[in-house]
Assembly symmetry: C2
Homo-oligomer: 137 residues x 2
């Protein structure tokens, strides 16, 4: 079995928010969108179908938890949930809060604009709000 | 409870492949990509989190089944799985077979090129191959 380690590109692009039973929960460093990423700690997995049924159920529960946190903190118009992996093969799931007024709407967010890194204060604020929402479920 | 009816835009964009316990399985009418869509028959649902845990589990099993059929018939380099819904709010999940040589790679498929409708023969061929793969699981 391949040992799991966070892909270096994902480590650069995101900040840690929580460590759940299956996935690392990370925040994409892009202030354009409230954007979470779940990275299941399953070595070698690149597709959702690489997970067995139990891990899939846990992942779905974790996606639901991340979705509810985004809804609570950001009250978005829509959520976008996606497992793509064309650039970074390591299995990861995007959960993104979308607004009809955001920079990419109604397109998907990928490739529309360069990421706008958070300032240290803004990053601390967003992570803290998400962690609070997750703690008070 | 809102009665479910396939959104007219999805009806125009896709062709029926199978009717599963939760979802309609449809083929996107775009010969650029082998592209399935699952539309859960849950009235009013727009987000994955609008489904209860049981329906989420069924949907994940159906996404897995669709993924395996695409892998068997098309042996893609990667699968893309996404629930976006920015254009059509009715909950639907894309399962797309991607190749490193396809027209959009490595970008997501949405908005890259106009859909290229199948010829009647090509459509019948693809639907029949998918139905065969699903029948011989």
């Amino acid at each position: 079995m391949t040992p799991w380690q966070l892909h270096p590109q994902l480590a650069v692009d995101t900040h840690p928010v929580a460590c759940w039973s299956l996935s690392e929960l990370r925040l994409m460093d892009d202030a354009h969108h409230p954007w979470l990423m779940l990275v299941p700690r399953i070595g070698g997995a690149t597709e959702l179908v690489d997970l067995d049924r139990g891990a899939q159920a846990t992942l779905m529960a974790e996606v639901t938890r991340a979705s509810h946190a985004l809804q609570r903190v950001f009250t978005p118009d829509k959520l976008n949930v996606a497992a793509l992996g064309n650039m970074v093969e390591q299995l990861h799931v995007h959960v993104i809060a979308r607004y009809r007024t955001d920079i990419a709407w109604p397109r998907p967010v990928w490739g529309v604009a360069n990421a706008q890194p958070y300032s240290p204060d803004a990053l601390a604020d967003v992570v803290s709000k998400l962690q609070d929402a997750l703690a008070h479920e």
